[in-house]
Structures are given as C-alpha cells and as structure tokens.
C-alpha cells in the first residue's frame, strides 16, 4: 500500500477496509461510479483501490468540467477572439491546453490572439474595468460548483454597469449527466459515489430519484481517502441490506438543502439550454446553462457571431468511453504513448481532475492489479 502512511488515520482506513471486505457478497461483482473528477484524482493519488476487495470496481464518471467540453466549443471561442482584435479572452488555466479542431487556446495565443488565464471570473471582470477600450470575454466552465461564481460575477457586472464584459457560458449540470450515464446501454452500475462540492450547492434532494426510481444507492462523499472508504462501506452496506437510499457521508460540509443563496444567483442569471453537446456523451437535453434574458447584454453568444463549430473527436480519442466509465484510461489505445499530459489528444488527459491524467500521474503502480481485477471481475 503505497500511501498508507499518508492516510490521516491508517487504523481507521484498515477498519473501514475490513468492514467492506466483511460485507461484500461472494460471487458478486460491484461497479461503483464516482461522479466527480476530484474523487477520481483522490482515488488514484491515494491508491484507494488497494484497500478494496477484488470484486469492487471503481468506475470513473463524467464529473470533470474540462473533460466534457467538446472541441467545437474551443474553436467557437477562438474564432470569436480572432474576429475581434479588441478582445481579451479569459479562462481558467486548465483550459489552455484543451485541444480544439484548430488547436488549443495556447496555439491561438501563439497565432496572436490575446488569451489570458484568470483564477476567478471576478479577475476577468476586473480586467474589463481596467481596460475600458478592450472587451473581456470569460470562458465559463464547470458544474454547479463554479456556476455560482459566474452568477455573482454577472450580478456584479450588471450592478456596476460594466459594458465591455461578456460570458461564453459552458456551465453544465450534474443530474442530466448522471441520467445519460444510466441510459447508456454499455454500462451496468450498482451505485454512485456522489460529488462533494457540487452537493454543497444543489444539496442532496436532487438525487432522490436515483434511489427511488432507479433503486440505486448514492452516497455523497468528501475528498479524503477515508471519506471515500467510508462512502464505499456505506454503499456496500446498502447493497447488502437491499436498500437504496441517498446518504450523506460529507455532512460536515454538505447540507440537505444545499446553498440557497447560490441556487438563487444561478436562477437569476442563467436558464437551462434546450440541449448541450458533451464531449463523448453527445447531445443531452436540458443539461447545461445559458445566460438568462435579464443578462442577455453579457451573453457572448448573443453579442458575437458564434460559428457553432462541430468537430468530431479525433479517431484515436476514446475520451467518450472513459467519461462514460465504459473504458479504463489505460485501455485507450493512445494512453501514455501519443496522449500524455504534455501532448494531450483528449480532454481527460488535460485537467488534473481527468481520469486519464490522474491515472497517468499516480495510477501506474497499481495498474497491473486493477487490470487483473477488471478482467476477472467484469
């Protein structure tokens, strides 16, 4: 066990591992999906697999904001920036290396576009205020964890009467993504490890249907390896007891009702899109947010001509399968050879929350074991 000394409480880790081992049923194979990319990262970083019986397989989900951006949405933003020399395109650092059909933002910057990394959407707004003769467009990404930040930034821009600022909105919502996963015929899951910080915003209630209609357990978890082990123990308990419930392992941070202030800010500034194209998952109805009518003046898609580029993923790229949990990162043909964090072909290799990057950085040590587990188990 590689990182056992780094567990805050190795004794507790062992205790949880024993509890899990004692409750798994012989001859049963368990597929648990961790929805959140932060969890994927933590699982590989701490070798959580190493504590689990062979029969428990952790399947990585779509909850990595950078990973689900389709190539065309990169090209669209590049095209807008290149058509407007006065523009400063701003985005989070993770996004710079995401490949589009015409290269990444880094490539576009090398061609002359003014593209800058910001830490917060408020930094983008500040840039607009400081540069009244330029236009600052913020490329917004993320699930419900980051949508409130964009929402508050928009409210601030409106209140301050800023006119040279806009948002190219790519915020996505977690529930339709989970639905899409469940509708996918290639994958049979037993339960979900629910996202921690998305749930601080949306709360636990939006997951009720997973338990009631789908009869599947979902346990919202924190990001420590001990949190993940405890959540897995809670899931195995539920499955052994033939229960399907929404449980909250991360109650020290997540409340049932979420954060009402954040939800109100999202509702004020954004509405659901009829559909949105996800990388690898295809078009999903009502799965993403666009600016609401009240904030139309800040909507980059209304202010500028958007080419609406749709580019097929490169042939070699299997991010779609990885995002749906159908393939493990190392099963992609180009993993670690043509596709590395330095030269990513797909998005999952770009962000530290992406399954391929997490596995590339930390997973190699337990690769053989996990491979074996998948072969014998599936």
């Amino acid at each position: 066990m590689r990182y056992v000394d780094e567990y805050r409480d190795p004794e507790l880790a062992r205790h949880l591992a024993d509890r899990i081992a004692a409750r798994v049923e012989p001859d049963r194979h368990y597929k648990l999906m961790e929805v959140c990319g932060g969890h994927t990262h933590a699982i590989y970083r701490y070798g959580v697999h190493d504590y689990l019986p062979e029969s428990i397989e952790l399947v990585h989900g779509p909850g990595c904001p950078v990973c689900v951006i389709p190539m065309g949405r990169i090209d669209d933003a590049t095209a807008i920036a290149e058509a407007h020399p006065e523009m400063i395109l701003t985005c989070f650092g993770d996004l710079m290396r995401v490949p589009g059909g015409r290269g990444s933002f880094l490539d576009a910057r090398a061609r002359g576009a003014d593209i800058r990394v910001v830490y917060s959407p408020l930094d983008a707004l500040r840039l607009a205020v400081d540069n009244p003769d330029r236009h600052v467009m913020f490329y917004a990404i993320g699930f419900e964890t980051t949508a409130p930040s964009t929402a508050l930034t928009l409210q601030r821009a409106k209140a301050d009467g800023v006119t040279n600022f806009s948002v190219f909105c790519n915020h996505v919502t977690i529930i339709p993504a989970i639905k899409a996963i469940l509708d996918s015929p290639d994958l049979r899951l037993d339960a979900f490890i629910g996202p921690g910080h998305v749930s601080t915003v949306i709360g636990n209630r939006p997951y009720e249907w997973i338990a009631s209609s789908e009869q599947m357990p979902i346990v919202v978890a924190g990001f420590e390896p001990l949190d993940l082990l405890e959540a897995i123990a809670m899931i195995i308990d539920q499955l052994s007891d033939r229960r399907a419930e929404v449980e909250n392992q991360y109650a020290r941070v997540v409340r049932d009702e979420g954060n009402p202030v954040a939800l109100r800010a999202i509702a004020d500034t954004m509405t659901l899109r009829p559909w949105f194209e996800w990388r690898g998952l295809g078009s999903i109805n009502h799965s993403a947010l666009q600016l609401s009518e009240r904030y139309a003046e800040f909507d980059a898609e209304l202010r500028f001509d958007v080419p609406g580029v749709r580019v097929a993923d490169p042939k070699a790229c299997q991010c779609g399968e990885v995002l749906k949990g159908v393939l493990k990162p190392w099963e992609c043909k180009v993993f670690g050879t043509a596709c590395t964090p330095e030269t990513p072909i797909g998005t999952c290799m770009v962000s530290s929350e992406g399954a391929c990057a997490a596995y590339y950085n930390f997973g190699k040590a337990s690769r053989q074991r996990v491979e074996l587990k998948v072969k014998t188990g599936a």
């Binding site: 805050r8 959140c36 500040r126 941070v253 202030v261």
Partner: protein
Amino acid sequence: MCLGIPGRVAEFDDINPHLAMVEVTGVRRRINVGLLEDERLAVGDWVLIHVGFAMSRIDEEEADRALEGLRLMGSGFDEELAQLLETDPG
C-alpha cells in the same frame, strides 16, 4: 476547481459586505463571501474557497484536513493555490 481551498476570515470590507480578507496558508487575499450571506460569517471563521468565492463554512479541523489533502494531491492543485495567492479579484 472541484477541491476547495481553506481560508480563515481576517476582516470584512467596510464598504462591500460581500468582500472579506481571508488568510490562506498565511497569505491574505480578498475573497467574495456573498454566497455565505445567510451564514453570519464572523472574523476567525473558516471557509472553503472555489475560484475566488467562499462556498461553504467549515470548522478548523475540516480546514486542516482540506489543506493537508490539497498538499498531498500534488501539481494541479499547487497551481490553483498559487493562482489564488497571486491574483486579487477585488
């Protein structure tokens, strides 16, 4: 983006109650605390910060754990922490 960075509220902005100086790993940085307006935040409270916004109130033990977790998580998160400390959204 998904992992919050813990910080401790050091002082509130006189003019805009949604802004606070928050201490993150010993460095002071201005943070928007508007999303926690229902929480009656006070100086000394710990919060988890995502992209410049305090998203949840936490206790000190949780802050310690989160920081330790971030430290162990490695590169991607070092970058985010560095960015947090270098920029000031005001």
